[in-house]
Amino acid sequence: MSNATLTVSKIRSGTVIDHIPSGKAIEVLRILGITGREGYRMAILMNVESRKLGRKDVIKIEGKFLDAKELNLIALVAPTATINIVEEFEVRKKFRVAVPDVVEEVLKCPNSTCITNKEREPVKSIHKKVRDDPLEFQCMYCGTIVRVG
């Protein structure tokens, strides 16, 4: 039994994001757009023991079910993460996150003269995955490569 389950009670229903690389929990929340002000009961465990990773972070969110598209964004910062969907204290679904092929409004283009960085334009950044290892995305507007993680 891991340290995580010893220190924080199980959630009744919601999402558990496990096996996050140690220290990355905050980034995971940021990429999901969760600020804590939404009112969900939430536990964030950082640097707890893990058999797989040595140390890991875990996030438990009561009453929140994230869809696969949202969850796959986690792979951008935490490729090792696993997702447990919990209902009535039981794990109903368990899966690994997969890096999405296309992400919208997630990555910022590092090119300062890219149209996606022009002020007051209704333009969304769109990036396409071009490489897995190292993980690289390409801006669909200016072609600039963004290395992730």
Binding site: C114, I115, M140, Y141
Partner: protein, 310 residues
């Protein structure tokens, strides 16, 4: 072949395959007949020129091309572009021009501006240059020039010289070559101005073999086409570095004394001193001829997109 250009946007030269480019060349041949006269095939159409960045050649040649085809032309440039840059955003400007016209030609200093404009406009958008990224119609002119000079784009040896990192015309020409079968492509530039990695990756994916060099010297006696682009001072933080680089990429008679007899020098113009004036009167100079083909190629493109007959 059906007209694959009808109503399409022209954002990158890579939007077009070999057959499409060859169809364009056929139309450009036809358009040459009207290069000194006027027809009415696009009568009633309005072409909007939205040049948010200074341009003379591209803007004028689009304007002349549209007018020779009988279209009306409206344009944003100079003062208006500056006031637009301060106030109205690009999206709103594009929307307005889209209401008033049948096609927009846009030049903008931001990379991706033409793609973004095309997403907003209902009517076709032609990229007249977006930052350092694409200049597809220049590449069309350049490939057509080679076709006219040699009767083919295939089987030739090309040297692309100068600013391969920020030069949008030369980058687009390189992309355009991937649609043909050159027998060699040499990318010649100082270390600081080598092509961006994503450009080389793309070119490799498309199956084009190339060699990266820092000097034209070892290959001047074997290449058929030398495509020269300007090396801009602003790209060098150190003026001494610029001074050093500048001289070593100048095309002059001394260099050309070792050239193949049929070699042709291309340049998208304007040039500063990367081609010595003494070269102008030689058989090698093809850049003025290249410039003269801008109007027919742009006439061909406008005709194909807007459905005018030539």
């Amino acid at each position: 072949m059906d007209n694959p250009y009808r109503g399409v946007d022209v954002i990158s030269i890579l939007d077009f395959g070999r057959r499409e480019l060859e169809l364009l060349f056929e139309y450009a041949d036809k358009a040459q007949k009207y290069a000194r006269s006027k027809i009415e095939s696009l009568k009633g159409k309005v072409v909007a020129l939205a040049f948010f960045e200074p341009s003379t050649r591209t803007r004028f040649s689009f304007e002349v091309a549209a007018k020779r085809l009988g279209a009306d032309v409206i344009s944003i440039s100079g003062e208006e572009a500056i006031s637009t840059a301060k106030g109205e955003n690009l999206a709103d400007s594009v929307r307005m021009l889209d209401y008033y016209s049948d096609l927009i030609v846009i030049r903008h200093k931001y990379e991706g501006a033409a793609k973004f404009a095309a997403e907003i406009a209902v009517n076709p958008v032609i990229n007249g240059g977006d930052g350092w990224q694409h200049h597809p119609t220049q590449a069309m002119i350049d490939l057509y020039t080679v076709q006219k000079l040699f009767g083919t784009v295939d089987g030739l040896k090309y040297a692309l010289v100068g600013d391969l990192k920020y030069g949008r015309a030369i980058t687009s020409f390189l992309y355009g070559l991937t649609r043909f079968k050159p027998s060699a492509v040499y990318l010649v530039s100082p270390e600081q101005l080598k092509p961006r990695e994503e450009v080389l990756t793309k070119v490799r994916e498309l199956g084009l073999k190339y060699e990266v060099l820092e000097s034209l010297d070892p290959i001047i006696d074997e290449v058929d086409v030398v495509y020269v682009s300007r090396i801009q001072k602003e790209r060098f933080p150190d003026p001494l570095e610029y001074a050093k680089v500048r001289g070593s990429y100048t095309i002059d008679l001394k260099l050309l004394s070792r050239a193949k007899p049929g070699l042709k020098v291309l340049h998208p113009l304007p040039r500063v001193d990367e081609i010595a004036l003494e070269v102008d009167s030689t058989v090698y100079a093809a850049y003025f001829y290249q410039a003269s083909l801008a109007v027919p190629v742009r006439m061909a493109l406008l005709s194909l997109i807007l459905g005018g007959e030539l």
